[in-house]
Amino acid sequence: MTKPAEFYQRDTARHPPAFTPDYKTSYARSPRFSLISLDQGVGEVTGPTFGHGDIDAGDNDLLSNYAQPGQSPIGERIILHGRVLDENARPVPHTLVEIWQANAGGRYRHKNDRYLAPIDVNFGGCGRTLTDAEGYYHFRTVKPGAYPWRNRVNDWRPAHVHFSVFGTAFCQRLITQCYFEGDPLIPRCPIVQTIPDPDAITGLTAKLDMNATIPLDTIAYRFDIVLRGRRATLFENRMEGT
């Protein structure tokens, strides 16, 4: 049996550190000791698999998946689409992509969100899909609104959509947020600015994609996601004969 190969080391310069003082909640929720480096074994290079029996075909359409019959949510209609690739630039097919977001007014349908912008009766705010054989995914939704949050006294989140992606291995598991090109709140946001590398922030910014728009209907943004790549060689490193 071929032994599975391990995944490339995470580039810590791309990811936010655990302790980021301007994002105040990280103070008490960040480990103080360093993470202990673990050689990947079978439980790290494997992960859950999902199929079309797990989700429904309409789960990726946030314009309709919680709307009353014949109605749709208020807001700018968008297609949010892209590919899931790995660091070797290969597509990650048939992987689960889940999203959640505020409505066009910046309000989440969540019992803990008390922001004064109203709930939209036609908008749930979550969706999920599987990438196709080429790693491609798409959602229809409304562009989320900016909203204030309790951090410094006057912090506002830029418009964003939360993404959860699996890949093929538990060590690839990733949750992130997608922002929208041109939003002036991006450089002011303490959560965005937890990321030390400006290029990595650019990578979280969806680009206007005119070629994917549907004329007179829906505007489009493109957001590609890269998961950790995998070595071509096997991971046993004991010398022969020992």
């Binding site: 480990p31 673990l38 660091e87 969540h110 939360h162 590609d224």
Partner: protein, 207 residues
């Protein structure tokens, strides 16, 4: 998306799951029904082999307070030490998924999940790993999901030979990965509290 000189891409940066992670990953808990089937509530279905166990605990922050908006994912082997994946060491039984999600009670921070106790599984270079559950923890204030493991305190001999536990340089920190058996009626129950920071800080892994 720009490839580097060798043609590699860079991994997408992580961002916190935020306070409303439940909307996307456990909408019923957020307060609304939208999907016919929420994912992650069936780690080990009725047909799965092995001892039924419950694992319960809290996630505690650096002030000593319970974290009430955390989401934990579990990834584990079955009772025969196999993962439900093509590279997982063998075919698992129908109904065993080995993956699940659990969120905390918003008022108390308590969480619990039901599963089967995993068997030992192969480690690297011919070693055997003691029974364990792999966890991934995300929440508001956690910028990159935290990986840790639950081992079982009543597996003393297997734990003493486990290549991951014994690799942890500080022996007094190894106990942060041990779930203690709780005496009582009903299914076997283990207690596992996760301390994000401070006294008894849980060991987290860079994998």
């Amino acid at each position: 998306m720009m490839a580097d000189d060798l043609g590699y891409l860079k991994e997408t940066a992580s961002q916190t799951a935020g306070p409303y992670v439940h909307i996307g990953l456990a909408p019923g808990a957020a307060g609304f029904d939208i999907y016919d089937c929420e994912l992650g509530w069936d780690i080990a279905g009725p047909n799965a082999a092995g001892e039924r166990i419950r694992v319960q605990g809290r996630v505690i922050d650096g002030t000593g307070s319970p974290v009430k908006d955390v989401m934990i994912e579990v990834w584990q082997a079955n009772a025969a030490g196999q993962f439900a994946h093509p590279d997982g060491g063998g075919e698992v039984e129908d109904g065993f998924r080995g993956w699940g999600r659990v969120i905390t009670d918003f008022q108390t921070g308590d969480w619990a999940f039901d599963t089967v106790k995993p068997g030992p599984c192969p480690g690297r270079n011919g070693a055997t790993q003691a029974p364990h559950l792999n966890l991934w923890i995300v929440a508001r204030g956690i910028n990159l999901g935290l990986h840790t493991r639950i081992y079982f305190a009543d597996e003393g001999a297997a734990n003493a030979a486990d290549p991951v536990l014994t690799m942890i340089e500080w022996e007094n920190r190894r106990t942060t990965l041990l779930a203690e058996r709780v005496e009582g009626d009903g299914p076997a129950t283990y207690r596992f509290d996760i301390r994000l920071q401070g006294d008894g800080e849980t060991v987290f892994f860079d994998i």
